[in-house]
Assembly symmetry: D4
Homo-oligomer: 251 residues x 8
C-alpha cells in the first residue's frame, strides 16, 4: 500500500502545470573558467553517494576534483568504489579527498603562498587551505606553532617565506586570533586571516578570534569565516597565480 | 513499594480541588475550517506513539493527516502499525509521513506555487514546504540549485514558473541567503524567503541567511523562521488557493 | 590652494583607465512594471536635496512618488520647494510624503487589506504600511489598540475586516509580539507580522517581538523586519491587488 | 607507581597550611525552615551515587527528598538501591524522583496553584513545577494544550481554576511565549511565566519565549528562566501556602 | 495645495469598504476590576497631550491615575494644565505623576511590601515600583544601598521588614545582580528581582544583572525585565493585597 | 495643590509599618580597612551635588577621596565649591578628581606597577587605572602606543619596567586586544588586561578586545571589564602593595 | 591650590622608579616601507589638534598624509591652520583630508582597482576606500547603485572593469550584503567585501551584511569589518600595486 | 594507487620553493623560565599520542609535565604506555594527568592560595586550578559549597584562609556568579573569579556567571574565561610564589 508521496505529487503536477527539469545537484562545471576557482565539493552535509557522484562528474570534466570536510565513512566509500578507475589521494589532516583521472597531474599555475598557524589545533584548517591552493596550481610553504604566546618562534619562518617570494599569506589562528594582526604589521604581502573554532568559554568556537581579526589595527588584513580554509586557500591562490601570470607576461 | 507519584497527587487533588479534565495532546480539529490550514503534527519532539495517535485521530476526522520532521524510528513504527488500515506515504527527503483513509485523494484547491532552492542542502526544507502545500491542495513546481554564485542558472526556471502562473514563490536558501532578494527584485509574485540551517562559522546555522532576508532591499519579500518549511508551504498555499477561488468566482 | 581631491583623482583615472559613467543615485524606474511595487524613497539617511531630486524624477516618470521616514527638515524643504509645481501631501503619523503631478489620482488596483495594531506606539509603522498600500492602489481598513492584554477588544474589528473581504492582514505589534500569532490562529487570510521597536530592557527595540513572531505556532504567519512598514504594506497590497485582478478575470 | 595526585598534594598541604574540612557536597538542611522551600537535588550534572547519597541524607533529616532532572540510569540506580529502605516514587514525565521514609506523607500546607501549558512539549516542565509544589504541600490543578493558536480552548479551564481559588498561576509556554501575557491580562491572580526550550530556528531553545514574557505588556506577570519548573513551582507554592496560612489565621 | 493624505485615503476607504471606528488610544478602564491592577500610562513614548488626555479619562473613571517614565516637559505640561481641576502629585525620583480627583484618597488594600536596592543608581526603579504599589493600596518600606559588596549593611533592614510582616519583597540591583539571590536564600517571602540598566562594558545596561537573576540558585526568586519597576510593583502589591484580604477573611 | 507623593506615602507608611532609616547614598567608610581598597565615587551617573557630598564625607573621614568618570560640569562644580576648604586636583585625561584635606599627602604603600597602552585612544582608561593606583599608594610607570601593529616599540619599555621591579602589569588595549597576550607570554609578572571601548563595526565597543583577552593562550593573564580602569588599577595596586609589605617584613 | 595630579604623581614616580619617556601618540613612520601601506590617521576619536599634529609630522616625513573619518570641526581647523604651508585637499564624501607638501604629487604605483556599491548609502565607505587606494598610488574606477534588487544594472560596469584590467575589486554593500557574493561568482579577480552600517531593525547596522558575506558560497571573497573602507582600499591597492610591479619586472 | 596527497605536494614544494622545517607541535620549553608558568598540555582537542609525546618531551626537559582536560581514553593510554618509565599520577576530578621522572618532587615555591567553590558542580574547575597551582609549587587550601544561597557557610572557611596567609583567592562559581563579588567585598586579598559552565536556560553555560563577575561592584576582582581553571591557578600561583620570594628576600 506504500507509494512514494513524491510519485503521487509528480502525477498531479504533471496534470496541472508545465514541468521544469529539476535534476539533482549539478556541479557548476563552468566555474573554473569564469572565476579561476574550480567547484569544490563540501562533503560534510551530503550523503556519501552524492559526494562520490559529484567527484566523478567533476573529474571526468576537469581531470581532477576535490572534496573537503569528508566524514570518515565517506572517505572509505570513495576509496573503495573509485580507486579502481581513478587516482584517489587522501589528505588526512584536512579530511579532504582528491579524485583524478589516471595520470592527470596537479596544474602548475606558478603562484606561491605561505601558510602560518598559531597553534597545533589550527592544523586541519591550514591543511584544507593548502590542498585547495595546490589543486589550483599554487605552491605552498607552511610554518606551524608560531603563535603570539611565544613570538620568538615567528620571525625566522616569516622572513624565509617573504624572501622566497610568496605573494599571499594565510594566517590561521584560534582563541585570541592575534597572530594575523602581528604578521600584517610586519610584511608587505596581503594577509588573509582565518579564525579557527578552537577555544572554549566565552568567545570560544572561533568567535573571539574572528572579532579580533575584524578589529585588527593592521590595515593589510582581510578575513574569511571561521574554519573557512577553502575560501582562504582559493583567494590566496587566485592572487598568487595572477601574480605569476603577470610575471610571465600573460596578464 | 513503588507507586506512581502522579497517582498519589491525583488523589490529593481530588480531595482538595475540583478536577478539570486534563486530557493528553488534543489535535485542533477545527483549524482547517477556521484558518484554511489543517493541523500538522510536528513529530520531532514527540514520542512515536503520540505521533501515531495524533495522525490516526486527524485522519479519522479529516481523511488525511501529515506529520513532519519524523525521526527514522517514528517513520518505521507508523509504517508498521498503520499501513494495514490506512494508506501511508513517506516523503523521504522531507522526513514527512502522510496517513490517509484508503482511497482518500489529495484535495485539489487549484492554487499553484513555485519553490526555488539555492543549494543542494536546502532540499529537505523545500520538500517539507512542498508536501505541506500539496496536502492543502496546491500544485507545486520546483527548481533546484539556482543560487547566486551562478546566477545564469536562475533565469529560465524562474521565467517558466511565472509563465505557468504560480501565485506565490518560496525561495529556500542558506549561507548568504541572497537568492530571495534577487528573485523578489525580478518578479511581481509575492516571495516567501526560508533561511536554512546550512553554513558553518559565524552566522552559521541559518542566522546569516535569516538576517540577510530580513534586511532585504527588495520590498515584496516576507520571511519565516530558519528551516520553517511548514510555515512557508502553508502560507504560499493559502495565498495561491485563495487566488484560485477568486478566479473560480468563489471568493 | 584647496582643490577637490575628487578632481585630482579623476584626472589620474582618466589617464590610466577607461571611465565608466558613475552617476549619482538613480531611481529604478522599471521596478513597478517588473515587480508590481514602485520604487519608494527611503529618506532617513539621504540629504534632503537628494530626496527631493529623486521624488521629482519618479513623479515625472510615474505620476506619483512616495518618500518614507522623512526627517522633519526634509519634509519642510520638500513642501517649500515642490508645492508650487506638484501636489504635495504629508502623512504626519507615518513621516511620509507623496509628491504627485497635479491632478494625478491614486491608482485603484482594487485590492483590500486590513491593518491591526497592538498598542498606540505601533501607530507610525502601521501608517507607513497604509500609505504604501494606498500608493499601490489598495484600500486599507485599520483597527487600533487591540493587543493581547485585553483580547476582548480584538474580535469585532477582526470579524468586520474578514467580512469586508480583506485579502491580506498586517498585524503590527511590539513588546511581546503576541498579537500576530493570535490573529493567524483565528482567520483564513494570510497574515504579515510587523514587529515594532517599542519596549525596553532585554529583547527591547523590537527583538522580543520579532523572535516571538518567527517562533509563532500559527502556520499562516509570515514576517518582515522590525519597523518595516514599507515591506509589509507592499507585500500585502501585492497579494490583495493580485486577488482583485483574479476576481476581475485579469489574471 | 600510580598514586593519587590528591594524596600527594594533601600531604604537602598538611605540612604547609592549617587544614579546613572540605567535605563533599553538603545539603543545606536548614533551607526549608529559613526560606519555606526545601533543598532539592538537581540530578542532571551529578553522578548517580552523589544524587543517591544526597537524597538519603535529606530524607533522613526531613522525611522526604526530591531529585529533579534525573537521567534514566540515575533513576534506575536509585530504585534498585533505595526502594528496600525508603518509599521511592517516580514522576516519569518530570524525570523526578521522590525518596521518603516509609509512611511519611506529603505535607498539606493548604495552598492551591494552577498550571497551564501552551503545547504538548511543555508537559515535562509543567510536571516538574507540579511535583515541586506538591512536595511543598500545595495542591495542583493543570490544564494542557491551551496555547494562543486556538484561544477558544483557554477560557473554560482558566475560569475553573480561578473559581476553585488558586492563589498563583504557572503558565508554561515555548515558541512564541504568548500565553502568559494573555492569561495575565484576564485574571487577578499572580502569574509566573515559564519559557520552555521548544522551538527551532532563530529564538529557538526558549529564547524567543523568554524575551516575549520579559516584554509582556501585562503588568502582573513575573518570569523564571527557560525550563525552570523548579523555580516556578517553588515560588507559586510559597505564595499559595502563605495565603492558606493567612486564611487559617496563622500569619 | 497641501491636503492631508489621511483625509484623501479616508475618502477612498469610505467608498471602498465599510468603516470601523478606529478611535485613538483607549485606556482599558476595565483592567483593575479584571486583574486587580489598574491601567497605568507609560508616558515615555507618547506625546504630552496624549498622556494628559489618558490621565484625565482614567482619573474621571477611576478617581486616580498614574503615568510613569514622564519626560520633564510632559510633567511640566500636566502640572500647568491639570492642577486647576485635579490634585497633581509628582514623584521626582520615579519620574511619575499621579492625577486624582480632588479629595480622592489613596486606596488602602492592606498589603505590605518591602523594597531593597543594591546601589544608589537603582533608586529611580525602586521609586517606580513603590509608587505603583501605593496606587494599588499597598504600604511600602524601603532600604537603600545594601548591595553585596558590603553585606553587613543588609541584615538589619531585611530582618526588620520580615518582622513587620511584608508579604512580598522587591530587590532592585544592577551590575552583578547578586543581591536578589542572597535575599531569596535568607527569607521565606516571595522575592521579585528587578535588574537595572546600570553598569558599563560587557553585560552592561542591565544584561549581566538580568542573567544573574535568571540563573539564580535560590528557588524562591522570580524576575521582571530590566528597569521594569511597574511590573515588580504591581505583582508585589497584587500578592500582598491578596494576603491582606485573606487575613481579613475576604478571600 | 501640589504635594509630594513621597510625603503622602510616608504618612501612610508611618501608620502602617515600623519605619527603617533609609538614608541617601552612604559611602562604605570601612572598605579600605577591610579590603585594602578605599571606596571610590563613580560620578558618571550621579548628580554633581551627590558626588560632591560623597567626596566631602570620604575626605573628612579618610583624608583623601577620589571620583572617577566625572562629567565636565561636575568637575567645574567641585572645583568651584570645594577648592576653598580642600585641595582639589584634577586628572584631565582620566576625568578624575581628587579632594584632599589640606596637607594630606598621597600614601606611600611602596608597591610599583607598570601600565602599557596599545594605542592613543586607550589613554584615558590607563590614566584612570594610574590615578586609582596612586591613591592607593603605589608608584606607576607608563608606556604608550606599543600595540602589536608595530611590535618593535614594545621591547624596551617592557624590559625597563621589569628591571625596575614592577609587581603587576596593566595592559590596556582596544580593537583586536592582542597586546596583553603578547606581554603575558614574555614576562613573569601577573598581567591584568583591560579592553577599551575603541573600534567600530562588529566586535567594536571593546567586545572584540574583551573576547580576545578571555581567549588568550597566555595563562598568566586575568581580565577586567571593558574600560574598567578602576578595577585594574585597584587590583594591581593591591598586589604590588602586598609585595612591598612582604619585602618590608610586614606580611 | 589646584595643582595637576599628573605633576604630583610624576614627582613621586621620579623618586621611586626610573622614568621611561612616554611621549604622546607617535606615528609609525616606518610602516610604509615595512608593509607597503603608510600610516593613516583615524581622526574620529582624536582631538583636532592631535590629528593636525600627526598629519604635519607624517607629511613632513613622507610628503603626504591622510586622515580619515574627520569630524567637520576637525576639517575646518586643519584647513584654517595648515593650508598656508601645505596643500590641503578635502574629500567630502569620505570625510577625509589629505595634507601634502606643496608640489608633492600622488605616487603612481601602477595598480588599478575597481569599486562597486550596492546602494547610495554605501557611497562614503566606497569613497574612503578610493582615497586610501589613490594615496597608495593605485588608480580607481567606480560604479554606483548596482545592487541585487536590480541586477540588470550590474553587468556592463563589471565587464568594463574587468576588461580594463583591474586586479582587485572592492564591493561595498549594506542591508542584505548580497552583491559581493554575486560578483565573486562572476569574475576571476579577488573580491574584498565591505559591509556597511546601513539597514535598520534586526541585523541592521551592517551585521546582516557582514554575516552574509562571511557565509558567502563564492570562494574568492574575503571580508573586512563593517564600514572599514580603509582596510579594503589598502589591501586592494597592495594587491594591485604588487601586480603592476610584477608586470614591470620589478618583483 | 593511493598515495598521500601530502607526499605529492611535498615533492612539488621542494621543486618550487625553499623548504622550511615544519615540525609537529613543539612545546615551548623556555616558557617556565620566561614567565614563571610552565607549558601545560591542553589535551582535549589533541590525539592521545600527541598528548603523550608532548608530556614525555616536557618531562624529560623539566622533570614534570601536566596535561589538563584529558579524555578518558587519553588517560588510559598514558597510564598504559608511560607508567613503566615515569611516575604517572591522575587527578580524577580535574581530568588531569601528571607525568614525572621517577623521584622528581613537586617544587616548593612557597606561595599559598585559597580556592572556594559555590556549588558542587564547580568542583572539577577548582580541581584543575589546584593541580596547576601545585605543579607551580604553591600550596592550596580549598572550601566547597559555600555559595550565596546559604551565606552562613562562607564566613568560617574564608576567615581561616585569610588567617593562614593565602596571598591569592580563586573563587569558582557558575549560575549567578555572585560569590566572587561577595568575597572581594570582604577581604584584602586579590580575588580571581572563575565562571563555570553550569546552569541552563538563558545565560547558561557560564555566560550569566561571567557577565556578573565582569560587572562586579567589588573593585579587587579580576576574571578569567569560563571554566579556565588553568589560567586562574597559574595566575594565583604566580602572585603567591612572588610573595613568598619577597618574604624570603629573594625579590
Amino acid at each position: 500500500m506504500r507509494r512514494s508521496l513524491h510519485d503521487i505529487s509528480q502525477e498531479i503536477n504533471q496534470q496541472l502545470l508545465p514541468s521544469y527539469p529539476t535534476p539533482n545537484t549539478t556541479p557548476d562545471l563552468d566555474r573554473r573558467r569564469r572565476t579561476g576557482i574550480p567547484e569544490f565539493v563540501l562533503a560534510a552535509t551530503k550523503p556519501a553517494d552524492e559526494v562520490m557522484d559529484l567527484l566523478r562528474r567533476l573529474a571526468d570534466a576537469d581531470g581532477r576534483a576535490l572534496a573537503t570536510r569528508c566524514p570518515q565513512p565517506t572517505i572509505a566509500r570513495i576509496q573503495e568504489r573509485l580507486s579502481g578507475s581513478y587516482e584517489v589521494v587522501i589528505d588526512e589532516e584536512a579530511c579532504a579527498v582528491v579524485v583524478a583521472q589516471p595520470g592527470c597531474q596537479l596544474p602548475r599555475a606558478g603562484g606561491q603562498i605561505g601558510i602560518l598557524t598559531a597553534g597545533s589545533s589550527d592544523g586541519p584548517v591550514a591543511a584544507e587551505a593548502a590542498v585547495v591552493a595546490r589543486e589550483m596550481g599554487a605552491g605552498v610553504v607552511q610554518a606551524r606553532d608560531v603563535g603570539v604566546a611565544g613570538l620568538h618562534r615567528l620571525v625566522a619562518p616569516l622572513e624565509g617565506m617573504v624572501a622566497a617570494g610568496v605573494d599571499a599569506l594565510i594566517v590561521v589562528a584560534g582563541m585570541d586570533g592575534a597572530l594575523p594582526s602581528v604578521v600584517a604589521g610586519l610584511v608587505d604581502v596581503p594577509v588573509i586571516g582565518v579564525p579557527t573554532s578552537t577555544g572554549y568559554g566565552y568567545g570560544g568556537e572561533g568567535v573571539g578570534a574572528l572579532l579580533a581579526m575584524l578589529q585588527s589595527c593592521a590595515p593589510g588584513l582581510v578575513v574569511v569565516n571561521i574554519d573557512n580554509g577553502v575560501g582562504a586557500g582559493a583567494t590566496a591562490a587566485l592572487i598568487a597565480n595572477r601574480m605569476a601570470a603577470a610575471r610571465a607576461g600573460q596578464r
